[in-house]
Symmetry: C2
Subunit: 464 residues, 2 copies
């Protein structure tokens, strides 16, 4: 199956010009917020505010009564008008040659208005205008600086530019997770909240993100899949190129009922989805936090198929817990070579227990970690490193944080951190994550993320 | 079995006077840091710095060569001298009538020095001086303002006064979790890091915290239990009075091996511990984050034996995920009474779906939540409430946060929040937690914590 059997979303995500239909001078209107977002984000293409009650200018830009009056090429129309008016403005967009649409308006199938939604789909297809929505937050892209999110800017941390693309059927989950990502160290490529998926659906989006060169990791929240067979076709291709982390709402019978009344999704059984997702190389996130946990390891770390993890720690108890967490997640402790052990015995003080989990003890500093890593990193029996740093101890400071990040950046194997604590710890965790090394807050988060990376790597290499 | 069969730790936790043995003017010495902590914390009892190389005064306080020179009553001796010198200073403490000891020094059984540890135990028992340690961080108590933690103060958030007591065999886990608690909204009663548990052990500590009137919730990290039978005896009594959240390190074979070399613990199999823990009413935390998640619901919410949870949300997708999380944790959605449904239909706009999970939709504000809660809170079919607020939406602000907290404080049923997001959300979550309502970051954390509360409540009421 070729990728051009699916809808092309590139005009929607990187448009040279945009019409905002329903734009308004009234700050309470969704169309006002969206127009303001485009201006604030520094969108460099042409912006055409459209309002049937032509206001002359809106936010300093010349306004139009209809897209038909613009008489210039329009790549994308963002529609924020009452549901009943949507077919009419879509018709006008079609006649004006608009290449794609984002309909943020609600009032369609999700409130039982099936006929209106069918009308929307018919018009979208008549004019070959791929249409995202309705009943969605729309799209955001920090590269092209488009932003249809009609939520107060000060309430959402906007992520920086990066390689993680995030698609969510639900606007609420979409904006909440986007906001979480905004307070993390990694950046995003594309954000799509696609609501009712009336025209553009999960298959089109997965295909688009799979082909998108700026997207390194796909993170997906779905409540249901309508075109199951096509979804699997696309998934088989995409998961061979890049990781797809997926969270499925409605996995219990009650949750599925809720999902149905939410986005009119047919949720299907949890077991069925899980089995299919695993078979085709998806990484399943059981909780929203795992979407973030897994996204950051995939975004920053190389693939690794081996399960032997070296643990370095400056606190014995945390080493014990991390060991438990590794085995609970199907991983194991590395056994160093005889040569590595000999070298470490010479480098380390007598208080250090060089058996895994290697306890560098409470007075470990920058130098001790670096010395230990120089041996452990080269050991052929080590597939990945979990560096635990308790920043409560005297020797753990920003110099150590910086050394670990530099070491991780140079190493060819995955390396993640684990640091449990309060504000001092949090500040150091952020420093390290901003520099590209994931640092987790709990043993299970760290081990679960390493397992996600390794299991996906094995799928890619055909190791069961 | 009577509580006075166990060691009395009250002198250690609320002493009228303390000798700090190994106190020093040298800021690099542990004894210096501890003395400085007592001064900084505003400890109001008498402090006697002791150093065999008498320095005249230390940090402005008259110093002594030996506790025998003090000639005044000493409630507790904090010992921070080299391991080999510990027996000698303990003997002197015994002769001086010191009532209890905290030995922070390492160099005992954990490095194979069994004989020295036996000597320590023999002296402690000869003089009936309950002794915490060795090889530990010691104790902290924000009420009596004692603080033996010899870690840089600026690196650890010190918790405020509250009802959660936290005991940890491991100093590293102890300080890291204490630091986490310090950045949370709840406060602590007692903190004990007891290291090798040579004299005072997990049985004594559980008994002490069980009887302690300031301790409302016990949170426990252990790697092993030496007196299994006695531990169960005490546990049976304590879990009938207050919740005990327990995290066990060394639950996998490899983790158990690591625990053995860490605190010389005999870890025992995971299944054996889990079964015993559950049977006697412990709440098991599978990950460090759960220690915090569970501590805050137990600290703030009333017991409730029913499993029917009402979900209110301003985002449909999160409602779906929370529903899944409830059922995955053995809970269920409440079904409102006919009367409640009638009342809600009158109060709510047509866009609101009053079936659980109740979607107040994206424009819900303070008033809509309060109206809905006024009905749901009274419904006899509702055992507890999960209030989801996505602070990304226009109507969700600090006024709503405040109303929810006020409602939760008045209600007789448990009520917790769930808010996913970045910095704006985080600020509101903290506001609400500081006011006594737990607000979780992910659906699974919220549902898991409600399940912990309800399962413990059922244990207390004898419901299986």
């Amino acid at each position: 199956m070729k990728s051009n059997d699916y809808k092309d979303l590139s005009h929607i995500m990187a448009p040279k010009s945009v019409a905002i239909i329903g734009a308004s001078s009234n700050p309470d209107k969704v169309g006002h917020v969206i127009l303001q977002n485009y201006i604030d984000a520094g969108y460099s293409g042409k912006i055409y505010p459209v309002n049937i009650k032509n206001e002359g200018t809106i936010l300093g830009l010349k306004a139009y009564t209809s897209v038909l009056d613009v008489k210039k090429p329009i790549d994308v129309g963002v529609i924020a008008v009452p549901a009943m008016a949507v077919p009419q403005v879509m018709e006008e967009c079609g006649k004006a040659g608009v290449k794609g649409l984002v309909v943020v308006s609600g009032g369609f199938l999700e409130v039982g208005n099936a006929q209106l939604q069918e009308q929307l789909v018919a018009i979208a297809r008549k004019y070959s205008m791929p249409t995202i929505g309705p009943n969605c937050l729309g799209v955001m892209d920090p590269r092209s600086r488009i932003d249809t999110l009609f939520l107060p800017t000060y309430k959402i941390d906007r992520p920086k530019i990066g390689g993680v693309s995030f698609a969510a059927q639900s606007g609420a989950v979409g904006s909440a997770v986007l906001d979480m990502i905004g307070s993390e160290g990694f950046g995003i490529a594309r954000f799509l909240s696609y609501g009712n998926a009336a025209d553009v659906d999960e298959v089109d989006i997965l295909n688009y993100l799979g082909n998108d060169k700026d997207t390194k990791v796909i993170v997906y929240y779905i409540e249901g899949v309508k075109r199951g067979k096509e979804f699997i076709e696309v998934a088989k291709r995409v998961t061979k190129i890049k990781p797809v982390v997926i969270s499925k709402g409605g996995v219990t019978a009650a949750g599925a009922g809720a999902a149905h009344s939410h986005t009119a999704s047919l949720a299907g059984s949890s077991q069925a989805y899980d089995a299919v997702f695993r078979q085709f190389g998806f990484t399943i996130a059981k909780d929203l936090k795992d979407l973030i946990n897994y996204a950051k390891i995939f975004d920053t770390q190389p693939l690794a198929t081996g399960k032997r993890i070296a643990i370095l720690t400056n606190g014995g108890g945390i080493g014990v817990l991390a060991t438990d967490a590794l085995y609970n997640n199907g991983l194991e402790l590395a056994s160093l070579t005889k040569d590595s052990e000999d070298r470490l015995r010479k480098l380390m003080p007598a208080t250090v227990n060089i058996r895994m989990p290697m306890d560098l003890v409470g007075d470990a500093d920058d130098k001790r970690y670096t010395d230990a890593l120089s041996v452990v990193g080269d050991d052929p029996n080590v597939d990945a490193i979990l560096a635990i740093v308790l920043f409560q101890t005297p020797g753990a400071d920003s110099r150590l944080a910086s050394s670990l990040v530099s070491f991780a950046a140079k190493m060819k194997k995955p390396m993640v951190g684990l640091s449990v604590g309060g504000s001092y710890t949090h500040a150091h965790r952020q420093m390290m994550e901003n520099a590209g090394m994931p640092v987790y807050e709990s043993p299970d988060d760290a081990a679960g993320s390493l397992a996600a990376l390794i299991n996906y790597s094995r799928y890619r290499k055909g190791i069961a």
